[in-house]
Structure formats: C-alpha cells, structure tokens
C-alpha cells in the first residue's frame, strides 16, 4: 500500500514539531517566580542583615546574574570575592560603606578599570531594592573580605536612617539623594 503524500507531509510536520518539543524537554527546566518582597524588621541584627542581603543578591537584586564570587579569568563584570577589602581604597575619601552605596545608587559614576558600564541603578525599577534592602546587601558585601558593621541605623550619602545625626560617615551629607549627590571624578585606584 502506498501512503499518500498528504499523509506523509502531515506526519513529517507532526514529527518535526514533536522532535523540537522533545529537545525543549531535554534542557534544564526552571520556573522563575517574580521576586518576593523581603520583610525587613526594625530589630534586625547585622547577622540577620547579612543573611537577607545574600538572599537579595541571588533573588530580587539579580546581582549574581552578572557578578561572580571567587571566579577569575576573562569576566564580564567584576568578581566580588574580597571586594570589602578593596572597597575603602577604590575612591579616595570614600569609606567602604559609601563606596558600596555609590556603586549601587550611582553605578556609572565609577567603573572598575577593564570593565564596561552596565550596572543598573539598584533602587529604581526594574530591580528597585528599597533603602533597607540595600543596607542588607551592603552588609553581605562587607562579609566578602571584611567584617560586617552595617545596621539598619547606618546612614550614608544616599540614605538617612530614621533618627540618625545629620552627617553620614565618609563625609558625604546624610540627606543627599541619588539625584543631588555629586559623582566622584577623582583619580581611581584599581
């Protein structure tokens, strides 16, 4: 019996489509949920903040989509291992916390040599971390080659903690906002 061409064509279309559908089942299957809001309680300790900061870096903050921790070679974005040790020397006059804050609120104001600009402003959409969430991220970053000191009462150039004194550590005004903060233009140390 000869199978009509129409039936063969239909079989080919179904088989080809099924094959590609099957290839789709062979790759890793991951369902990505929208980021959940993180509950930042007022009584968080630094250790709690480090834990939440680590979760934010993987999840809502999307930090580890681009950055790595403990990788070397030809990287697209700076590796974060030991970043706390480097942070206080990156921009003269800026403390470790202020450098981290500047990197997150105004990422294009300082680019690590050898890399291209590309980091989004973290407190605005699409990522949109809140100020306390950013403090938690800074707490986590401090653990990478340093000791975490940040609390929810810490102020910096872009955030004034409730009840904090008017001047923030590092010399920058505590009530400065991302729009009125002055970007650093000075020489840069790698």
């Amino acid at each position: 019996m000869t199978i009509p061409h129409s039936a063969r064509i239909a079989a080919l279309v179904v088989a080809t489509t099924a094959f590609y559908g099957y290839v789709g089942q062979l790759v890793p299957q991951r369902e990505v949920q929208p980021p959940q809001e993180t509950l930042i309680r007022a009584d968080l300790t630094t250790a709690d903040m480090v834990k939440i900061g680590g979760e934010l870096m993987v999840g809502k903050g999307l930090c580890l989509t681009c950055h790595t921790i403990g990788k070397s070679g030809a990287l697209r974005f700076p590796d974060l291992a030991g970043v706390a040790a480097r942070a206080s020397t990156r921009i003269p006059g800026l403390s470790e916390i202020d450098y981290f804050a500047k990197s997150l609120y105004e990422p294009d104001s300082f680019i690590v040599p050898g890399f291209n600009p590309g980091m989004p402003v973290i407190n605005k959409p699409p990522i949109g971390l809140t100020d306390p969430e950013i403090l938690c991220v800074i707490a986590f970053l401090q653990t990478l080659g340093g000791t975490p000191t940040v609390t929810l009462q810490t102020s910096h150039a872009y955030y004034k903690a409730p009840g904090a004194p008017p001047a923030a550590p590092g010399g920058a005004p505590a009530n400065a906002t991302p729009t009125n903060a002055t970007p650093a233009k000075g020489p840069v140390t790698p």
Binding site: Q25, R30, P34, P120, P126
Partner: protein
C-alpha cells in the same frame, strides 16, 4: 444515499455549521462574562433570623440590589481565560497572528522582485511564478486580520489595565495603523486581482505600494512591542513625555530590520513548502518542472535572507545590552540561556537542510560530479560547527560528576560553550553554506574567461583568509578582557560579509559566458528533496515561535519592563519545556491553517464543477 439527498445534505450543512459556530461564540462569551471576578453574595447575619421564607427572600433580593447599586466602579486589572489561562491564550493568538503577518509581508517583497525580473527579461515564467506566489496572499491576509482582531479583543478583555496604559502612550499611532490596513487591503487585492489587467509598470507600482504600506504597518506594530521591552519617552512614573521617543526606543530599529529579513526567510520557506506540496501532487512533467523551480526559488529566497539574519540578531542583542545589561544577561546568561541551545539545534538543522537540498539539486544538472566531490568537506565543516554551537557552557551532572570535572563546566568542552566559540561556529556555518550555493551555481558550467585560473585562486584565497581570520579572532577572544572580547564579533561578521560580497562579484564575471556541460533538468528531483523543503519550513516556523517567546518572555514579570509590573497569576516565567510545548502546538495550528490556504490556492487550478449525467445543473 443518492446524489440528490447528498446535495440536500450539503445545502443544509452550510447554515447548520453557521448556526453551530454562532452558538459556540455565544457560549464562549457567556462563559467569559461569568468568569469575571465577583464577590459571592452572602446574606448578612441579621437577615438569617427565622423569618417567613418569602419575606426573607424579598429582603435578600432588596439587599443584593441595594448593594449592587451602591457598588463603585473599579477598573478590573485582569480577567482569566478558561482552561489554558490568559497568558497562553494571548501567546498562541499573537504567535499565529505574527506568523501569518510575516508571510503576508514577505511574499509581496519577493513576488514583486520576481515580477520585475520577468518584465525586464521578457520571460513569462517569472510572471507566472510571481502570480503563483501571490495566490497564497488573499486568504492569508484574511487570517492575519482575523487573528489581529482576536488578539486586540483578547488584550482588552484579559489585560484591560495594561491595554489602557498602552493606549495612553500610543493612541496617536492607532488611527494611522487602521488607515494603513485599509490601504494594504486596497493594494493587495488590486495587485492580485489586477494581474495581467494593467500595464506591467502600473502593476509593479501596485506591488511596490503594497510593500511600502505593509512595511509601515509592521514598523508601527513593532513600536508597541519594542516599547514593552525597552520603554522610552516616558517619565519615571510611566507618564508619556514624547510619543516619538516611545516609538523610537532602543530596540525598535533593530527589530524592524530583523523582522524584515526574518519575514523574507520565513515567507520564502513557506512558499517553497507550497511548491513542494504541489510538486508531490503533480501529475505531469511540466507541472513537476514548474514546481521544482518554484521550490528552488522559494528556498533560495529563504536561505539568502537567512544568511545575514545572525548579523541582524547581533545588532538587536547589542541594543538590548545597551538598554539594560540586566535584560541582556537575563537573555544570554540567566533564565533563557538554555533556550539558545535549542535555537542552535534548530539553526543547525536549517543549515543542514538547506545544504542538503542544494546538494540534491546538483543532480538536476549533467556534469555535476566535478562539484559534488566537495560535498563531504562541506558536510564535515557544517557538522563540526553544529556541534560547537550546540555545546552548552554548563551541563547537567551529578554531584560526583561535577566534582570530577571541577565545576559545572566540562574542562575541555566547556570552552566551546562561550560566545567566542559560538560566534566563530556560526560565521563558519554561514561561509560554508555560501560555498554550497556557489558550487550549486556553477554546477555544469566551466569558466571560459582568460583569467579563470587567477579568479578561482583569488576566490579561494579570500574564502580561506576570511575563515582563518574568523577562527583566529575566536581563539583570541579567550585571552582578552570582556570589554575587548565583545567587540571582536564585529570584525568577524565584517570579514564574512566582505568574503561573500567579494567572491560573488568575482563569480559574476567569471561565469558570465560559461561553457555548459548540460541543461538544468527542472523536475528531476527525488521526492525526498521536497520533504526537505517542508522540513525547512516547519523548522523556520518553530524557530520564529521560539525567538518570539524569548523576545517577549525576556521581560519576565513586567508587562512594560521596569514600568508596568505583571501582578497576574501568570507573572512567573515558565519552564522551557512548557514554552516549547506551546510553541509546538502553535506551529501545528499554523500548518493546519496554512494547509487550508494551500488547498484553497490549489482549487484555482481545478476544473469547474460539472453535474453528473441525470442531475440537473443549477
């Protein structure tokens, strides 16, 4: 059952089908209306006191009516679609609309070109071929419009808040869009029905008008969808500042260019599939010859358009990165990175299919043996590039295997998973397919110009230099910083483009008046070659579905990236397995419908109905 009963049955079948379809539409509409979120009515505790039943019911009705009257207007954010959910419903309808739209926009581009060749050369075969291509247009245009209307209504019903926002930004573009749609209907039907009725130049002008209007429609629609991915011209809060800036966003022009090229490739492949369908059902040698030629032209159009497509893809990806590195990295290194392995399988199959068809086509010409000996080398090159492209950076492995490898990447094969290797592989694939074309073109021909040997040597040198340069840059990419490596794709692409243009230019003069060893015997193709054409069309369609998904899915939990967040139950990004199932079902639906279009187009060639002896002719 006799013939008269049959006719009566057929006569009744039409209205009955119409009534059934109308009933189905009413049922669906009722079902959708009932699916709107409503708070169920609950009698207040005070009413539940033991009272006479009639009075109690009356009180309940009065309370419900009072509550209904007091209810304020609240804008519904989302409504649900039964069974599959809103997202999948919109996804499938949008994909079908886009596939038919792509076909309707693509066919006039090459139909007009073929018609123009026919007019210039006076060869009537080209005119017939162009007419045959446009036969597929009218029904496809109706289906495009139908799916477009369905998509619009479904967006308004299922995503009212988002649709309102898009209207607030793009309302000035809607009226021109509708007017252009009317203009397209005018040009398309005049172009098709006016075939042979006007002066050829007037008819060609109609075809050009059709292309201009169709492209303008696509550009407007592209503004809407690219705005969703890379919004521009709005305030931080999403309020419109400039409509033109919203239109001319980061990804608008790259998508415009990418879609024009991809549409031509896709349209060519579907037209070739139609020719294959007709070839396989042909009953005479003349028909077979015509449809073999038509399939060849369709495939030629598809592959010629397909070759520069990766370059347009680079540009689009570059603009996505320029707009947002996060968006770019989500695409290439995040949730969607494995999708590009599936894409590699599809593109590898396209290259293999296209080359195989060309190699089979060499058999049409006597004296093909001299060029067929190169096929094995081309096949090796394609297979190696395919394998490199389909090698993932990290692989699924057990903990023990990961420990043994020292990480999720294989110590050797892992190097093939990065962009340096993939860019190199795709550029060599393009060069190899170009060589297949070149060899096919010179099958049965011998160059007679005095400088033939020099010309061949120059072509070989250009080809080899481009290939070596591409491979060198690919290897060099492993030893430089990211900022330098990203820029290497530009010289790789440029060298391949240069090689293709330079070699074609030399070939044109080299084979201007060749010595022929035999005629091209159109129609002398094995049946498998036609199935290859259908396979290529299915693969193209599936690829379009997949890439449509990544472009749209890239926004993840945003309707408009960074501006309007998706808060519906469908806000998550599904697994690739699920996405490929939706793509597969959509592709099957498309081929079912395009099969209907092919069948309708074939009716044109059938003889008119003649009543059997003994039956009254109406």
């Amino acid at each position: 059952m006799n013939g008269v009963t049959n006719r009566k049955l057929l006569f009744v079948l039409g209205p009955v089908t119409g009534l059934v379809m109308f009933g189905a539409v009413v049922l669906i509409a009722t079902f959708l209306t009932n699916r709107e979120y409503k708070e169920p009515y609950r009698a207040p505790a005070a009413v539940v006191d033991p009272t006479p039943r009639a009075a109690g019911l009356a009180d309940e009705r009065a309370a419900a009516e009072a509550a209904a009257r007091a209810k304020p207007y609240v804008e519904v954010e989302y409504r649900t679609f039964p069974v599959v959910g809103s997202r999948v419903a919109i996804w499938a309808v949008a994909q079908l609309h886009l596939l038919f739209a792509a076909f309707v926009l693509a066919v006039p581009i090459f139909a007009v070109l073929i018609e123009a060749i026919g007019y210039k050369t006076g060869d009537r075969r080209y005119d017939r071929l162009a007419h045959e291509f446009t036969k597929l247009l009218s029904v496809s245009f109706s289906l495009t419009a139908t799916f477009g209307a369905a998509l619009t209504f479904m967006l308004i019903i299922l995503y009212p808040k988002f649709t309102n926002y898009m209207m607030s930004v793009f309302s000035p573009t809607f009226l021109p869009y509708v007017l252009l749609f009317f203009a397209e209907a005018f040009f398309l039907y005049t172009y098709y029905y006016g075939w042979g009725k006007f002066h050829p130049l007037v008819h060609l002008a109609l075809g050009i008008g059709l292309n201009v209007v169709g492209t303008a429609i696509m550009f407007i629609a592209n503004a809407w969808l690219t705005f969703m991915m890379s919004p521009n011209g709005i305030s931080d809060g999403g309020a419109l500042i400039s409509t033109w800036d919203a239109i001319y966003n980061f990804t608008w022009m790259p998508i415009n260019v990418h879609r024009v090229i991809a549409n031509v490739a896709f349209g060519g492949s579907v037209a070739a599939a139609y020719a294959a369908f007709k070839f396989l059902h042909a009953t005479t040698d003349e028909e077979r010859a015509h449809y073999d030629w038509m399939g060849y032209i369709g495939n030629f159009v598809a592959i010629i358009a397909f070759l520069p497509l990766p370059f347009a893809g680079y540009w689009l990806a570059k603009e996505i990165y320029a707009y947002s590195q996060t968006l770019g990295l989500t695409m290439m290194g995040g949730a969607f990175s494995w999708l590009f392995i599936i894409q590699a399988v599809l593109i590898g199959n396209l290259f293999l299919g296209a080359n195989y068809y060309l190699w089979l086509g060499m058999g049409r010409v006597e004296g093909a043996r001299s060029v067929q000996r190169f096929i094995k080398y081309l096949l090796i090159a394609i297979a190696v590039c395919f394998m490199v492209w389909a090698t993932p950076r990290s692989i699924i492995a057990t903990v023990a295997e990961i420990r043994a490898m020292g990480g999720a990447s294989h110590p050797i094969l892992g190097f093939l998973g990065v962009m340096s290797a993939k860019n190199t592989a795709v550029n060599i694939l393009i060069l190899t397919t170009f060589m297949s074309f070149l060899l096919y073109r010179r099958t049965g021909k011998t160059a007679t110009v005095a400088w033939a040997k020099t010309g061949h040597t120059a072509q070989l040198l250009i080809f080899a230099s481009a290939a070596i340069f591409v491979i060198f840059l690919g290897v060099y990419g492993y030893f430089v910083e990211a900022s330098v490596r990203i820029g290497l794709s530009v010289p790789q692409v440029s060298s391949v483009l240069f090689a293709m243009v330079a070699i074609t230019a030399i070939d044109f003069f080299l084979y201007r008046r060749p010595k022929m060893s035999g005629e091209v015997r159109w129609g002398r193709m094995p049946a498998i070659s036609q199935y290859v054409l259908i396979f290529i069309a299915v693969t193209f369609t599936w690829l379009m579905g997949l890439m449509g998904y990544v472009r749209s899915g890239l926004r993840q939990h945003w309707h408009v990236y960074g501006v309007i967040r998706d808060t519906s139950p469908d806000a998550f990004t599904p697994t690739l397995g699920f996405a490929t199932q939706v793509v597969s079902v959509t592709v099957l639906a498309f081929f079912l419908l395009i099969g209907f279009v092919f069948w309708l187009a074939s009716l044109h060639d059938l003889p008119d109905f003649k009543p059997r002896t003994g039956e009254k002719s109406s």
